[in-house]
Symmetry: C2
Subunit: 301 residues, 2 copies
């Protein structure tokens, strides 16, 4: 299968390399890492060793890649406005699009750009770090949840699940993409958000402050109220579960917090703005998310 | 009248100097500015000129000052725990105490420490800046609102109003001290708070961001709900008035924001913690203030 990886940051490098290693023809679209990747290939560092793909096909323009069977969008959502120019050379009749981006609104954008093509979304539950150009580090294998944007495309989504499983990725099929997107927001909204707004701190600073821990739970409650207004049946116990899994993470640096302290764009609209707007349209009040969003928009603007 | 000024930052220097100039015996308790003030006196720089008091009586210990007729507390509320040690040498039978501190809880503390003495509060609406040791700058004359902690002490509060008026300060008598404290919080909670939480910005950054402006109004709404649960009749139009007076301030730096960016303690409990606790006790929900308080406690901790 011919696969293009649009956006070769940590996520794009990692999953592109795994797909390439499992036998697919993978083309990476790169900007800053292009020269290094051309010379040295792509390197993946894992807890149990590392591998290097010397023959990675890397490109600076999508027109050099041409039409693919699968386009994996792994750009940061803050660069979404570039997609209308970047993607057309890659997309023909029958090309499938898979966004691995954070937050809400990414699959909708792809469907708007390519109404004739099938769109899928994957939520990555994984810790990845691009430690130097074309080198990605991954210490916990993690998992992906993949689902179709349209319920009728479940079968093709299952094929994508098999594609990633064959590449060695623990992959779940999710019949409802929106549900799993909101599920991920339950963690991302408070922990990515409060670690930025509290000045660029790690998750331990949130769970160890009685006040910030309460606020993180209240923010989760708002997201759950939004999700449940969309018809999902999140229970309050899901909040306690999020806290339970976050405590052992220790001094964990959420991706948005890393972006913030390193001066890179933060996905403010995808993670905080879009759920707020969707919930408002449904008549769900999110007073704390409103304040957090307003602060993040300024802090990361 | 023998007056001691406890805490000779911008507020203490300024009002102490005005009271001394109007003929009172004023003793200043100082720490860092002590040597300079002993050598050069106290200097007040105003828009229409400046004056220097070469013979200022400055002290490093309250035991050197002795019992006063009036004790003016102008320490930052973050140093309140020092008052139990500092004040006793100054307070005898009939000594009156006046706190010029920000926020809630300061007059209650004085009343707890000296249950036999009369306690008053003054809210300063003024822009002051201690520009170097023992030198304070004041460009807008501003005003003070003085009121008694106990309604029965209105007559003595009026005497304090006259004392400040005679010193050239525009002074209002406030029969209800609590009301004017909450009134000041309507501005301080959003503008001192959001300028810190948004990363150390000026008030123009708040009023020019549609989202932060909405959040500042919503925070004012919460404070007004708290105040009205205490029996005050704040109207919603008071919110629009606050915005109206803040816009022409331009790039104004609220005192807490200056403290924050300069690494000094911020009065988090007096301005945000205490109103939140009082409102909670009254059953008033303040979801946005809760989040702001939790963030400020961490940011300024």
């Amino acid at each position: 299968m011919k696969i293009s990886i649009v956006g070769s940051g940590a996520v794009g490098l990692f999953y592109g390399a795994l797909l390439q290693r499992s036998g697919h023809e993978v083309a990476y679209l790169m900007r800053s890492d292009l020269e290094v990747a051309r010379r040295d290939g792509i390197r993946v560092v894992q807890a149990d060793g590392e591998f290097r793909l010397r023959d990675a096909s890397v490109f600076g323009e999508t027109s050099e890649i041409g039409v693919c069977d699968l386009v994996v969008v792994a750009l940061k959502a803050t660069s979404n406005e570039a997609l209308a120019d970047l993607l057309p050379p890659l997309v023909g009749k029958g090309t499938r699009l898979l966004t691995l981006q954070n937050g809400l609104g990414n699959d909708r954008l792809l469907a708007e750009l390519f109404p004739e093509n099938k769109v899928f979304g994957g939520l990555c539950f994984v810790c990845l770090n691009r430690i130097s150009p074309a080198v990605v580090e991954n210490f916990m294998p993690g998992s992906i949840s993949i689902g179709p944007r349209e319920a009728g495309d479940a079968e093709e989504a299952q094929e994508l699940v098999e594609l990633f499983r064959a590449a060695g990725v623990k992959t779940r099929f999710e019949p409802n993409l929106q549900l799993v997107q909101w599920k991920k927001l339950v963690w991302n909204v408070p922990f990515n958000g409060l670690t930025v707004a509290a000045g660029g701190v790690c998750t331990d600073a949130i769970v160890e402050s009685p006040e910030l821990l309460e606020e993180s739970k209240a923010l989760m409650g708002e997201i759950i109220a939004g999700a449940n207004a969309l018809g999902f049946g999140f229970e309050q116990s899901f909040i306690d579960y999020q806290v339970k899994i976050t405590i052992p993470m220790g001094a964990y640096r959420p991706s948005s917090m890393i972006d913030y302290v390193e001066g890179r764009p933060v996905e403010v609209e995808a993670i905080w703005g879009e759920p707020l707007r969707q919930a408002k349209a449904l008549g769900v009040a999110m007073p704390k998310l409103e304040l957090l969003y307003a602060l993040l928009k300024r802090l990361c603007g």
